[in-house]
Symmetry: C2
Subunit: 306 residues, 2 copies
Amino acid sequence: VSRSPIIAGPRPTTFIEAPNLTARLGANVVIASEAFQWTGSFKFRAAHYVATHVPHAAMVTASSGNFGAALALICRVLGKQCTVVMPAQASRLKMDTVRSFGATVDLCDTTRRTRESRVAELAQEQPGAYIASSNDDPLVIAGNASLGRELARWPFDAILVPIGGGGLAAGVVSGLRNAGASTPVWAIEPALANDFSRSFAAGRIIAFDSEPETIADGARLRRVGQAPWAVLQHGVAGVLEVSEDAIRDGVRLLFSQANLKAEPTGALTVAALLDHPDRFRDARICCVVSGGNVHPHLYAEIVRDA
Amino acid sequence: VSRSPIIAGPRPTTFIEAPNLTARLGANVVIASEAFQWTGSFKFRAAHYVATHVPHAAMVTASSGNFGAALALICRVLGKQCTVVMPAQASRLKMDTVRSFGATVDLCDTTRRTRESRVAELAQEQPGAYIASSNDDPLVIAGNASLGRELARWPFDAILVPIGGGGLAAGVVSGLRNAGASTPVWAIEPALANDFSRSFAAGRIIAFDSEPETIADGARLRRVGQAPWAVLQHGVAGVLEVSEDAIRDGVRLLFSQANLKAEPTGALTVAALLDHPDRFRDARICCVVSGGNVHPHLYAEIVRDA
């Protein structure tokens, strides 16, 4: 962009109600969409909070997707330097978005080294930079808590939230409780990436050896962060796993019944109602749709037969 | 749906700001999206107003699309009977939507007779029914005026509105002026369906002999209605025509830069900024996106290469 937009803070979430979506899902569903948040996903809430709450003039993060774009935009607004370490095989579209906000894209050949080691190297090179995690930082949880406070105003019987690194789910729980709401929060994750489900059952963080291969790219993480775990271990009512087919069906249903463009990770919560139809029958359910950024090829392939 | 949703009235429009959309369009653009209105388009505003302001227990309308669905839903909520005359070649999806709200779909073979003659026949059969027009009725303009009142609160330099039958544009003008706002309103129509542009220049309604073939199906009307014309003739600042290519590009830009699923008619206003880039350079522009209902095959084909 040629000029910085005027951004006072995160945008309020967008509530969407659709009679035919409710009919198809067997529950009274309200969507809380973060697809219209700045940069198209909830990640801007945390990026904004972190960037405005640390004094550092430079920020470094590793992100192949939404957090990098969010941090890049808020750094541009604040006049901070921003470096985003991305895997060399990341999509051109995602790199272009980060660059469009004036950030430096640092490409890392992840077949030869980890992104973490490259971030550590950059930390040495830029001793004044803040190393920003997309989930494992109390500031991230405090930033995402703004969504929890918004949800606290509604009389939901349950709130369903996608889980990857845990920053969103922990923020929603934290914001709800701070606002005095005891609404149960359910974490929803792909069965192919069920590390939180197994961690929750075991009472300790369990990690995958490598990133799991789910269509929900926001959940392609080996494990949840320590900071969110401290909130989530006793903070969520439970975890539900969903199939890859249900995730695709969720994207299609949001397209056809709610006119909402959701990324696969965002559709996890609708997928949970499809895969677990009796769990929330006739209850007032909020499905958090965490973002809308999805490659056009993939989206076209999924919705063609909606 | 098994039960009637609780619908107190039209939903407020959804304002979307996207830095990269603004950068691409060369103006400070705010989208006012009606894609999340009940039944997915602005048509619910008028349908709700008409159905709640006439005493008739039955409603009849001719619609191949959004107005039929909107009227069907509000009639279900109010407990009124609803008959929607649709062309026999309308898409199965649209028929299913109207039927899902409990309305009767009356199929008309438009190769053998006009929809108007079938509506007249139904009016004879159902003497107690209100014959609802989707645009040519002062009640329609009064209903759509609620959007104009919402837009009056923003400091826009200009508001761009799609035009087909004229009901939306007339409603926006009427609502703005009633709220004391003098914001200029521009009507945007496909060059292939430029009856309003020619009417505006001539100072009288000019009609096509047959429905024009544009991808913007909401603008496939032979002419604007008399009631909207009375408001629009001196009420709009001007008319801009856009190409079919720009309409497709508009759908793609809204997909990629604003995460918004728009129907082609809804994308007319963004298309206007693409086809007329100097007209509103650096101004604060509201693009009204009138709805999001588009067949998945067509949408997938358009956005695949966004």
